[in-house]
Structure formats: structure tokens, C-alpha cells
């Protein structure tokens, strides 16, 4: 079994706060992964709001949030445990984030020996 981080991205901060229905769909999706014994780590939600996000760069430069530079910003991640990346992608495809224009990056986790 391998582990893959599913990294969630959104385009619009306004979409960050989900409606009750979106929350329900999201929980149902995650519960489905648990119910397949495929959730390795519940991960976390990362707040994209001003005051909660800063980027630190060389030369003692600190900017507010990642918003100004990249169009999409990370809002959270979970880690799944599957046989291969295709299975992880199949799980990601079921996520309701695509309906609000978000995206998911699937990345294999390097297992430390």
C-alpha cells in the first residue's frame, strides 16, 4: 500500500466557507473513504483568510497570504492509503470541490524507511 496526499485548492476565498449542503457532501465523501479503510490521515483545513496566511521569503520578506502571487490557493489536505495512484485519483474524482471550481493535486507521500 502507498500513501497519497490529496491537496485541495480553490480560486475564490468566497468559496472557502461552505454551505451546509456543501459541508454535508464533503463529510459524506470523507466518510466514504473511511468506510473503505483508505483514510491514512484526516489532514487539516488551512485557513486562507487575511491574518491567517503569510508567506515568508528570503531576505526577510514577509507577505500577506499567498493570494497575490498565485491564482489558486491551498485550503487543506488529507492522506489516503491505496494500492496505486490511479486508485487515489479515483477517490479524488468523487470529491464535491470540482462543482465550485476547485482542484485536487494528488501526490505520493515518500515513506521514510
Amino acid at each position: 500500500m502507498k500513501e497519497f496526499a490529496l491537496i485541495f485548492r480553490l480560486n475564490d476565498v468566497a468559496d472557502f466557507k461552505p454551505s451546509p449542503e456543501q459541508m454535508q457532501e464533503r463529510m459524506n465523501w470523507l466518510a466514504g473513504i473511511v468506510a473503505q479503510n483508505k483514510l491514512a490521515d484526516k489532514g487539516n483545513t488551512l485557513l486562507p483568510t487575511p491574518g491567517s496566511a503569510r508567506t515568508v521569503k528570503p531576505g526577510n520578506v514577509v507577505t500577506d497570504g499567498p493570494f497575490t502571487e498565485i491564482k489558486e490557493f491551498i485550503v487543506g489536505f488529507v492522506v489516503v492509503r491505496t494500492a496505486d495512484i490511479d486508485e487515489a485519483v479515483a477517490l479524488a474524482k468523487e470529491n464535491p470541490i470540482f462543482r465550485i471550481g476547485g482542484s485536487i493535486e494528488v501526490r505520493e507521500v515518500l515513506k521514510q524507511a
Partner: protein, 411 residues
Amino acid sequence: MDQPNVYTELLPHLFRQEYARMTALLCRHFGLKHIEMAEDIAGDTFLRASEHWALHGIPDNPTAWLYTVAKNKTKDHLRRISNFEHKVKDHVREDEALPEPDIEIDSKIIEDSQLAMIFAVCDPLIASESQICLALQVLCGFSVEEIAHAFLAKKETIKKRLQRARGDLRNGNFQLNALSEQSITSRLDTVLKTLYLLFNEGYFSKSGSQLIRRELCAEAVRLTLLLTGHASTNTTQVQALLALMCYQSSRLEARLNASGEVVLFEDQDRQLWDQSLIDRGNYHLISGCNGEEASKYHLEAAIAYWHTTPTGNYKWEQILPLYTQLQELAYSPVTALNRAFAYAKVYGNPAAITEVIKLGFTDNTYYHALLGHLYSGLDNGKAVEHYKVAIQLSTSPVERQTLLQEMGRVV
């Protein structure tokens, strides 16, 4: 007509809710050895309430009223004992003296007392059937009659079971006021098993009234919820068990029809499923996941998830491996037969029939009911034959009714 519901509605409701809590709170002060005394005081308090409220009306805060009366009764009781000790005996030995009647009452202390009581009742040395009776009586405030009704047993049988269990409880010397890490770890398994059985008794029971069954389920949920409220008992297994109870409860309304007969899963009206309970189930299933542990409760909750999710396209493909895992973890004929049912859904009835026959539980009702189901449409003669054996073996009128119905569909 303001008052008649004191007897029919308010008191029974409060009794259920507060009697067990009050007993737990008083036991915390007296120790389990004096559980009967605590119960007497709680019982007296409710008696006093029924008299007083009928004459003077219901107080603004009935619960507070009850606890004030209980507190005063306790003080009186302790004063009487101490008078007796002083006058009759020449001296009172220090270690025999009862604690000062300074009973603090707040919701946190009441909850802690109840939690401690759960662990006291779930003594691994008490036989599990007695334990459930004891749990129903001490933790949920059920009467002997109600317990007998729920188990379709004679009152005398239940009384004997309770007496034995109470004897064990008194002799166990369990410390209620200081629930230690050690007693939590050594007893949590038994606690979960008892709550699981309590819930199942309500959910699957073929006996008792619908009302009592629903209350059994609700009590099991309430006590499990209590466990999640405390850091030391809020384990992933507790969360998984609660998820299972939420998923199952979401279908409570749909699985019995107006006349109390069981509605088979596939015939249930999904509009009657309670979405808010499904959502809570999802929440607890996720909370109960630590990425590694898959206990019996995790697996059963996962199976229940697939039964309730609206996107259950490949549901049986998901359920079959879960049953396989469950069977390896905790083998029982029911699990094996449930797995065979899932197997049929994935690989078809003929393949499943071979699997079931290999199990060979020929004196089990469900074994024959399942074969009846699997043979239907393939070999109706054999289907009816198995249904007939199943009906013969069944001890429950409700179950026989359901089986007759199923057999009727074949012919």
C-alpha cells in the same frame, strides 16, 4: 385541565431521565455498597414529587426541585443514622462514619457520576446478560417489568438476574468517586460491548413494544455520547460505535411499518431516513478514524455507512471485504451469513448458495431464510422448503410473519 399530564407525561419522562442520574450522584457519596439506599432516596423523591405536584402544581424548574428534595432527604437520612450511632452504640468508629452530607450538584458532577456508574456496572465478572439487565435498571431507570417485557422473559427470571448482578456489584468494591485510568482501560471493552448489546436489543429485538425498543436505542446513544464527552473515554472505538448507532438509528422510522412489522431494506421508503443522523454518523466515523485501527465497531460502522449513503453504486463490492475482515476479527454465524448475503450480491446467487451450504448451520433460522432467499427464482421448490424450515425454527411471531411474507413472494 392543566395538571393531568403530571402522571402520564412529565413524571415518567423525568423519572427516566433523572432517576438514574440521581442514583449515580448519591452513590458517588455513599459508595456502591449502599446503592439500595441511594435508590430508595431517589424513589422517595419521585414519590414526593407525584404527591406534591398534584396538589401544588408543577414547579418552574422540576429538575432543580427534584435535586433539592433528594438533597434534603439525604441529609435527614444521614442525620438519623448518625443519631442512631451516637445513642445506641458507645462509640463510632471513624472508618465506618458516612461522609458529610454536603452534596454538590451541578451538571458536570452529575455527568461524572453517571460515567463512573457505567464503568461500575460494566464489571467484566458479571455475566453479559445480567449486565444488560443491570445497565437498563441502574443506568436507564427501567423497571423490572419493562426489562422483562424487552427480553420476553419472566419477571422472576429478571429479578434473579438482577439480584445476582447487584451482589457482584456490591462486593466488587469499585471506587465511584475516582475513576482511575486503570479501571477505564480494563473496563472500556466491556462498557462498549454492553452499550452495543443494549442498542442491538432495541434495534433488532423481535420482542417488546416499539416504544420500549426505541427508548433502548436512545438510551444506548445517550450513554455512548456521554463517553465521547470525556477525554479519557473518548477513544476511536467509542466514536466508531457511536457512528454505527447513528447510521442504524437513521433508519429506525423506515424499518417498521404502521403495524410494527419489519420492512425489508430494499422496500424501505428512503424519505423516512433521518439525514441529520446520517450526517452525525459521518462525523463520528471520521472522528473515529486514526488511520490504523479497524475494530469490530469500525467495520460495522463502515458497513452501515454503505447502507445509508445515497451514492451507493458499488455498495456490495465495498461491503463484502468489510464482512470478510469482520469475520476474521470476530467470527459468528450471523457475520458469516451476512457475508454470504453480500457475496450473493457481488457474485450471484448460485455461487453464494455453495458458500452458504459449506457453512452448514442447519439449525439456524437465518441460514434457512437466506437459502430460501437465494433459491428464489432459481429453484422455487427448494426455496419454499428452506423457508418452511426457517419458519419452524423461528421463535418470534414477528419474524415468522416476515418469513411467511417472503415465502409468499416465491409461490
